[in-house]
Amino acid sequence: MSRIVGIDLGTTNSLVAYVDDKTGLPRVIPDREGQPLLPSIVSFARDGVLVGAAAKRQLVRRPESTIYSVKRLMGRGFEDVKDELCYLPFKVLPCEGIVKIQVEGREVTPPEVSAIVLKSLKERAEAHFGEPIEKAVVTVPAYFNDSQRQATKDAGRIAGLDVVRIVNEPTAASLAYGLQRIKEGLIAVYDLGGGTFDISILRVKDGIFEVLATNGNTHLGGDDFDRAIVLALLDDIREKHGVYIGRDQEAMQELRLAAEAAKVRLSADDRTALTIPFDGFTYHREITRAELEGLIGRLVDSTLGPCRMALADAGLAPADIDEVVLVGGSTRVPLVRRRVQELFGKTPHSQLNPDEVVALGAAVQAQILAGGITDMLLLDVTPLSLGIETLGGIVSVLIPRNTTIPTSAREMFTTSVDGQHVVDMHVVQGERELAKDCRSLARFELSGIDPMPAGMPKIEVVFLIDANGILNVTATELRSQKAAAIEVKPTYGLSEADVERMVEDSFTYAEADVEARLLIETRNEADTVITHVERALAQGRRLIGDEEHAAILAALTALKDARGSTDRDRIREATTAMNHATEHLAELMMDAALKGALASRRADEIMEK
């Protein structure tokens, strides 16, 4: 069997891993610079596509063409995401059930954007092994519904990968822990990532990893923490500087990145400072861990309800859990750890790097599928109940949530009118009684039924959820034993023809080759410096003498000239010269900003007294 890699396609970062044949242990494949994490960011430009760290550097400069957190849009309709679109700098449009993103005069779907990230990881693995990689296990949040899973599979196909298995992230993590640390007991995996939250309860025994229950929220994660900080800072900036920068996309990206960085620092430190140079002013403030916790407390607490529900579904109390495992970068936040510890009454495990553990587990599952591991077996569940809409819009549940997969249910259908030859069914997923409150998965049309009096045809429909958690439907007319033709109209998702076309189109979005990418990056860096210098001159001209001013202008002209050429070294030298020419000005401006900040704080203190 050919090699299968494990891929964690995350909201913020993605990774690829494999199981080392010699040690039998999973390992993450780093990029050329030794970085294991690939930021899940894609930046579209006229002359190519940038992925990962290169794309991340474009967030501030080209916010409308740089797509991040696309996982939050996977398999979703416009109605699902419209409330959060105001936070995204790129343009998201509704399009026949799904959404599309408008970039550089084109429209791309979320699976196409994810495919670019997957392709980059595929190439990373190919460079590592020196052979083509065509198969992968890809992880998704356990609480992902059918459409979101299907969208992930589509992304794989567009990237030229056969996704041999979709695995749930918390269960993948349990496999990684199981291989190295936990051999038996009841385990709770608490997985809080960049955009999604999952809780899974498992029983591990004799190499079997049986998921008992899972719950979560596919729209809750570190992104939401950042958002809470940004909203508070926006208010603070308005108060201190009298401006509202919420509509300036570049400024908002600066602010978001600064908020994220401050959040990360506050996991280790009790307080931290933010200094952000904006157009016309420099914003400076301190933020304490206690303040951060005040901002995100409600969000963290909202993860506890799903934990209790998963426990109840598993028929367990918090005290029954033997081990708690933390997964996902957001579990580094001390408040999250504290809340989890309080709920379960025990110190959670985090020995395996929470950013890498899901990819490591995906690699273990890949090795199981490849036949390389035979003593471990994962028995996962479907996170949401599957049902059909019946008379009056009521849902009749066919497969309850937390049923071990694969699983199937059979249901008999018949006609209600004489000679009727078509029967429709509406399949939904969710826990609500009314179909309109659940997630619509698809409408199925059974056709080719021989004309008979009403109620005579007996059509047996089998609903099968496979090991990926994806629904397959087949139908048989029992009298004739004829397979009935089914036409599937997925409510949210791409049609087969769409995916085919995207596979063909995918070369259009190929990552720029190394030389081209470096040129794009060098140019973009030059652009960033140019913008900053122009901004600094407008703001700090009075701080420097005429001679220094003239020298800066000369360097600026030289850099603008160099930027137009294709000579990377020349652009870089001009950029360095530019930075050098403005060093003194930058120092002067920073001093002025700090003095200003101190002065305003003193004023605050006086006011308080």
């Binding site: 004799d206 199981i368 949530r401 699983t407 199937s408 090991a467």
Partner: protein
């Protein structure tokens, strides 16, 4: 495809008895999972893979139906009545005769809650009634799991119909109590923790 299909008891090689050793069932489930899980048959030809998928799906459905004593009873009733196509139980809820009067009161209070809101003392009464109903609900489940299940296992061929009727009556009462308790929960605003588990399918 249809017709002679093995039932959930047969999947585990068990007779149609309700007394089951949970640990033994789990051990067998794990053992059979190792045999038929698709993960271990990735290299097999497509036809074999389809068979494995089907076998694995049946095993999982069988384990789900049998591992919980109450789900096991519901399944047995469907099986004995030849209705094995549906996962969800369809027992028509029926009020326990000795509680008819109290139910009338409760329904009135629930109506009131719907149209306007309840006074504090009415809420208290309703909450106390809910606690009694929960007790009654737990009693009904113990009866199903205990004496009624034992009666089925001990029944000779001509006593089975009676045992089955007893199950159906008890399940109907349980379903009724569940609905009323849920309605009260809703009227009083949110269920108490720990009782969510009863909503399990």
């Amino acid at each position: 495809m249809s017709g002679k299909r093995v039932d959930h008891f047969e999947v585990f090689g068990l007779p149609r008895r309700l007394g089951l050793d949970a640990a033994e069932l789990q051990r067998k489930f794990y053992e059979l999972s190792r045999r038929v899980h698709p993960d271990f048959h990735q290299g097999a030809p497509p036809e074999r893979q389809a068979e494995i998928l089907d076998a694995s799906a049946r095993l999982n459905a069988a384990y789900r139906a049998l591992r919980d004593p109450l789900a096991r009873i519901e399944y047995l009733v469907r099986l004995e009545e030849g209705r094995d196509t549906r996962e969800g139980a369809t027992v028509k809820p029926k009020a326990p005769p000795e509680l008819l009067e109290e139910m009338f009161e409760i329904q009135e209070a629930l109506q009131e809650a719907k149209s306007g809101g309840l006074e504090a003392d009415a809420k208290e009464t309703l909450s106390a009634q809910r606690n009694r109903l929960r007790e009654r609900y737990d009693q009904e489940e113990s009866r199903l799991r205990g004496p009624l299940s034992q009666a089925w296992d001990a029944a000779g061929p001509d006593e089975r119909a009676a045992a089955l009727t007893a199950f159906k009556e008890s399940l109907a009462v349980r379903a009724y109590l569940r609905t009323v308790i849920d309605d009260i929960d809703e009227a009083l605003g949110g269920s108490q923790e720990g009782y969510v588990s009863h909503r399990r399918h």
